[in-house]
């Protein structure tokens, strides 16, 4: 058995999601290789070679892989598949974009967002926004799957694997990157944060969202998240969204402020270690999931909390 992990990176640094994915791959029990596909990404391959449990890093360094375009990367993975029993990537927007295409080209099923591995062909994954957990078995010769990163610990980085170049495939020329508008923030990344301060429609408007949440987040060293309602209302950018169709998070502490607790939001944060809810409505569903609930006016309570944690 042999497993190929698809590394997620930005051509200069490995994303943390790759470390969680390697942990999942190691649980399958075979030799783990990592494919780094990018442009000018030799440093990333060196970083991947240091992940514990990785036996070999394959580096495809070419301009057609620099922009994470699914068509070119999927074709490369398909061309690299010989000898592997499992192809694994993080269930991030990168992995979700590429892996189903890989599976279709290989004529195999794809298994989305696994949270547990029961055996090399049997996996557990959430369905219906996490309201049910399905245990599925794949009969395909190659298992192509994505991993929910919060369900697996990050692998340590004290290893030293060999880096082996692979010949790049052609540029299919089907798509090209025009540009990215990435949210710049000095705060931790949402998916990797230990503490998340998250706001919902109860905050009322864009100004309040930032005025109330940012000082608290800064004091706690927390990332800022949001409910779908807050994103839809334009309080914050789309990449703040926590939920079934946004980001899945599981921090040590999740503080939900002015969030009622819709099913699709709970799906994204209910695995947090400790959940605090602040809401004026004592009947809000979020309180059924919160370890600590504080009922009251968030416009008074949040500044008070910010002062108190200092």
């Amino acid at each position: 058995m042999s497993i190929l992990v698809i590394a997620e990176h930005d051509n200069t640094a490995l994303r943390a999601s790759t470390l969680n994915t390697v942990s999942a791959a190691r649980k399958l029990g075979g030799e783990v290789h990592v494919l780094v596909a990018g442009g000018g990404c030799a440093a990333v391959a060196q970083a991947a070679a240091q992940i514990d449990g990785v036996a070999k890093v394959k580096l495809a360094d070419a301009a057609q892989y620099a922009d994470e375009l699914a068509e070119n990367i999927a074709a490369l993975i398909v061309a690299s598949v010989a000898g592997y029993t499992h192809i694994v990537a993080p269930a991030t927007t990168f992995g979700k974009n590429v892996m189903p295409r890989v599976a279709a080209l290989l004529d195999v099923a794809q298994i989305s967002e696994i949270v547990a591995i029961e055996s090399p062909d049997t996996f557990v994954r959430p369905i219906y926004a996490g309201n049910a957990m399905a245990t599925v078995r794949s009969a395909d010769p190659v298992k192509v799957m994505t991993v929910r990163t919060t369900a697996f610990d990050a692998a340590a980085t004290s290893g030293s694997a060999v880096v082996e170049p692979v010949a790049p495939g052609p540029d299919l020329g089907l798509s090209r990157l025009i540009g990215r508008e990435l949210t710049k923030s000095a705060r931790p990344e949402l998916a990797a944060a230990k503490i998340i301060v998250s706001g919902g429609r109860g905050l009322g408007n864009n100004e309040n969202f930032h005025k109330l949440l940012e000082p608290l987040a800064d004091k706690l060293g927390a990332a800022i998240g949001a409910s779908r309602a807050a994103v839809d209302a334009g309080y914050c950018p789309n990449d703040y969204q926590v939920g079934q169709t946004g980001k899945i998070v599981a921090p040590q502490l999740y503080i939900a402020i002015g969030i009622s607790g819709a099913i699709q939001h709970l799906a994204g944060m209910k695995d947090s270690k400790v959940i605090v809810a602040i809401n004026k409505d004592p009947e809000a569903p979020i309180f059924q999931f919160a370890d600590y609930g504080l009922v009251g006016d968030l416009f008074r309570l949040v500044p008070e909390l910010t002062a108190e944690v200092g």
Binding site: L69, A70, A74, T93, K96, N97, V98, M99, P100, R101, V102, A104, L105, D107, A109, Q110, S112, P126, I127, Y128, G130, N131, A132, M133, A134, T135, V136, R137, S138, L174, S175, L177, I178, R180, E181, T183, I195, V231, P237, N238, D239, T245, K247, Q252, L253, Q264, K273, V274, I275, P282, F287, F289, D291, Y292, G293, L294, L301, E304, L305, V309
Partner: protein, 249 residues
């Protein structure tokens, strides 16, 4: 430009599903079924492209049991011109659906296929990407803005770090994210008109597609329950508990 829109019949998003006591699946008997919300956004986008004079025809497609006709009628009421049902009682997994739609796309030759990014029942988020792969077309997933022009489409995509703009060659497959548009409601006159729009039914065998499932569901269980905690009296109490009891700050 012809636009194809695949739509799925799913348990309505307001229904909280229950896991069956024998762990064989979730109970979908006698629950309200609706069009997958992301597919509604896809239909809306296709109809808007037609209203803007960029698309000439919108064809809605659904794969599944006979009752998927209702979902297709909804798509027709929202503005699709005609509909195709690939009817089967076999449990369809994303790869099978992608193969069925590919077979239809080979016949219909659309320039654009607009899918919802994810169905809210199996949460797979696969069919659009698989379809693009099978067709050998460009893909633009998780779209929040689509502008087709001159044999290409510029698409803004929602990605983990923010937004990304790409240009894809047509024909292409696009998947709709939440913020692509706000779908309209079907009006009563349009619901009546939809009843007269053409809807044809074909079988997977007519398309030469083997839809046998590749994944076997061994069991479906309830997720681990979270115990409801306590209400705290005030901010001081909360901070004290977070420090001494939960030890997270």
């Amino acid at each position: 430009m012809k636009v194809l829109v695949p739509v799925k019949r799913v348990v309505d998003y307001n229904v909280k599903v229950r896991v069956k006591s024998d762990n064989s699946g979730v109970d979908v008997a006698n629950v309200k079924m609706s069009m997958n919300p992301f597919d509604e956004i896809a239909v809306e986008e296709a109809v808007r492209l037609k209203e803007a004079g960029k698309a000439t025809e919108v064809v809605a497609v659904s794969c599944g049991v006979a009752a998927c006709q209702e979902t297709l009628r909804t798509a027709l009421a929202l503005g699709a011109d005609r509909a195709i049902l690939v009817e089967t009682d076999v449990e369809l997994q994303p790869l099978a659906v992608a193969k069925l739609i590919k077979a239809l796309a080979d016949k219909e030759a659309p320039q654009l296929i607009v899918c919802g990014k994810q169905a809210i029942d199996d949460d797979a988020n696969q069919t659009a990407q698989m379809l693009a792969g099978l067709l050998g077309w460009a893909q633009a997933m998780f779209a929040s803005k689509v502008t087709p022009a001159d044999g290409k489409a510029q698409v803004t995509r929602e990605i983990d770090g923010g937004l990304e703009s790409i240009e894809v060659k047509l024909p292409a497959v696009i998947s709709a994210d939440l913020r692509l548009n706000e779908p309209r409601y079907a009006t009563l006159p349009n619901i009546m008109k939809a009843k007269k729009k053409p809807l044809v039914t074909v079988k997977p065998a007519d398309l030469g597609v083997d839809v046998t499932p590749r994944l076997t569901t061994l069991k479906v269980t309830e997720p681990a329950k979270r115990q409801a905690g306590m209400k705290v009296a005030d901010v001081k109490d909360l901070v004290a508990k977070l420090k001494t009891e939960a030890k997270v700050i």
